[in-house]
Symmetry: C2
Subunit: 360 residues, 2 copies
């Protein structure tokens, strides 16, 4: 009870909510409860990784914080006026897809062939409907195409050219490949290929001629994965989850990670919603998002305890780096990660937001 | 206890194990326990659907039964000599992929464009390693490529051309598209397109000139989905699951069903292994394969009870047609389906096999 009050206060004053530590076996104090009667809110992430204060400049940090804050505000405005959690998570993820610093949409990393292949998924906890796409290359906002698969087709998942053809038929915005070109990601591919002694593909002729002035945290440039995601509870008591990614730098063979796998990277039910980020293969094998909800439902543990069991115990034992954000129908939320940092944020029903990057 | 004895006897004499009914709320008597000390066995399926005695000829039934029997024997020989459940499920699924009457491999249904797109997944319960491919068009045995993704790449899932390139690099057998041409499936596409008032694509120039003499059950020709799968427990106490499919007749937009989604159509852990067949979208949204195992683990119900809760209750409430086969580490198995029939079979440690098609 005292921990909950502390967390609430921390949220109220816009400071960092205390976060779990990998070494502790006690449940990490990452849960806060929305004040009774106002029960709505949203939690977001922009990827987990080796993100520490020592490797971050103030300028970089300000860039990341600004987009996280903007993403939270976008979702909040929808939730505040009584909109659905589904609308909120889609709109929020679009903000992060449109920002160049996260590995999703615009800021997607490059494949081995110097291209960008995007995956996304969305799930409506109220109806258990879900939509997912994998391997699209020209869709500006993959999360909106995933939602279209859910709402405007009888299917859950579409891939590659087929998914893109579906998006074109519905009039989704397509962009030239140069839209996804960022100097940081291109240099990250160069470093990855050099490390393997492989030649660099030609710079796309459509690529912007010079640097865009953006300086990314080195971990965001070089690490192999990253995603963005949002989970929300609306005024009607409904949960939704959404996740989007640009995949892995230097990926080959049409690899697909956990993001578009319903139950692995994205899941929502009437009682629980989760969006994950991390080393996708581990998240698939452990059905991470659904397993957190299943532990809550079947064993009666809290959301936070369930997240701790999966992310801080099961994944840590296997060496699976990453984290999750989650909410339950009572408005409890958690942001649990076993890496050094995770870009993340929470906004409550009063519009009080918390944005954080590092562990402490 | 009495039910278990009955099931054992039924298995011993090669007759049909009694199967669950959609209307009954009691646990269906589909579980048998392998005799102590010999604990290995395998259970397979060749798809579920509107399959009834009234719509089946003796000749057709004999064809289906022969392949199911051959598939069981193939896996049994591996298990009997101490081979792994992983080897057994792969080899068994290959037999069904090579047969033209099941919707997997050779007998794959046609997409809207008159092509064949294959999905498959395999999971090793001992290690929680998994491999999956989606949307390949030239791979003779998709289940073996899924296994290669698991064992010879750091990834779990590969799709489309990328997956195929990976297979080529490893020397997997590629076949011309005509390999997957069967007159029955082509006619099924014709009927589906006619029903929508759409034109038929040109018959592939490489298609065999005439009928292959195979007569499929009408449900297998026209229904929209179908898969093959195997689950096995080996002498070392390890479980594995494998599933393969040709997708949906007349499918568009690169639709992917539950088969290659780990946790939905395919799952294996040290304690539980499941392979599913049915209307894939429902199986994805309900994380069917993993949910059966999660209910066992977290709520302590039997494998059969867990399967009943998911397939006969949850899926039935939602209108999700299909079924599953599953085994646990004690050698209990279940074949639970809510459709009129499911091609299926079981073989025990003594090599006594049971093959069945209809509900009763």
């Amino acid at each position: 009870m005292k921990l909950r009050r502390l967390a609430l206060l921390a949220t109220a004053f816009g400071t960092t909510v205390p976060l779990s530590t990998a070494c502790s076996s006690a449940p990490p104090p990452t849960v806060a409860v929305a004040p009774a009667g106002t029960g709505f809110g949203m939690v977001i992430h922009g990827g987990a990784g080796t993100i520490t204060r020592a490797t971050m400049t103030d300028e970089m940090e300000a860039q990341y914080r600004a987009v996280l804050e903007q993403a939270l505000r976008t979702g909040y405005e929808i939730l505040e006026r009584g909109g659905s959690s589904l609308d909120a998570v889609e709109a929020t993820v679009r903000v992060m897809e449109d920002a160049p610093m996260f590995n999703a949409g615009r800021g997607a990393v490059f494949t081995n062939e110097g291209r960008n292949e995007l995956d996304a998924a969305i799930m409506d906890g109220r109806t258990l409907q879900a939509g997912a796409i994998a391997g699209v290359t020209r869709v500006r906002n993959p999360i909106s195409l995933a939602r279209a698969v859910m709402e405007r087709s009888p299917h859950v998942m579409m891939i590659r050219e087929g998914a893109e053809a579906f998006g074109r038929e519905l009039g989704h915005e397509m962009v030239p490949e140069s839209y996804f070109f960022t100097e940081n990601r291109w240099n990250a591919l160069r470093r990855a290929l050099e490390a393997e002694g492989l030649p660099m593909p030609d710079r796309p002729t459509t690529a912007p001629p010079s640097d865009d002035g953006l300086t990314l945290h080195e971990d965001d440039s070089d690490r192999k994965f990253g995603t963005v995601g949002a989970v929300a509870l609306d005024r009607h008591g409904n949960l939704a989850a959404a996740t989007s990614t640009g995949g892995m730098t230097n990926k080959r063979f049409g690899r697909v990670g956990d993001v578009p796998i319903i139950g692995a990277g994205t899941y929502a039910s009437p009682g629980c919603a989760v969006s994950a980020t991390g080393h996708g293969e581990f998240f698939i094998r452990n059905i991470v998002a659904y397993d957190i909800c299943a532990r809550m439902t079947y064993t009666g543990v809290s959301l936070d305890r369930a997240a701790h069991q999966v992310v801080m115990q099961r994944l840590v034992e296997q060496g699976g780096d990453g984290g999750i954000i989650a909410m339950d129908a009572a408005g409890n939320y958690t942001m649990t990660f076993n890496s050094a940092g995770m870009y993340r944020g929470y906004i409550d029903a009063q519009g009080r937001s918390t944005v954080a990057i590092y562990r402490e």
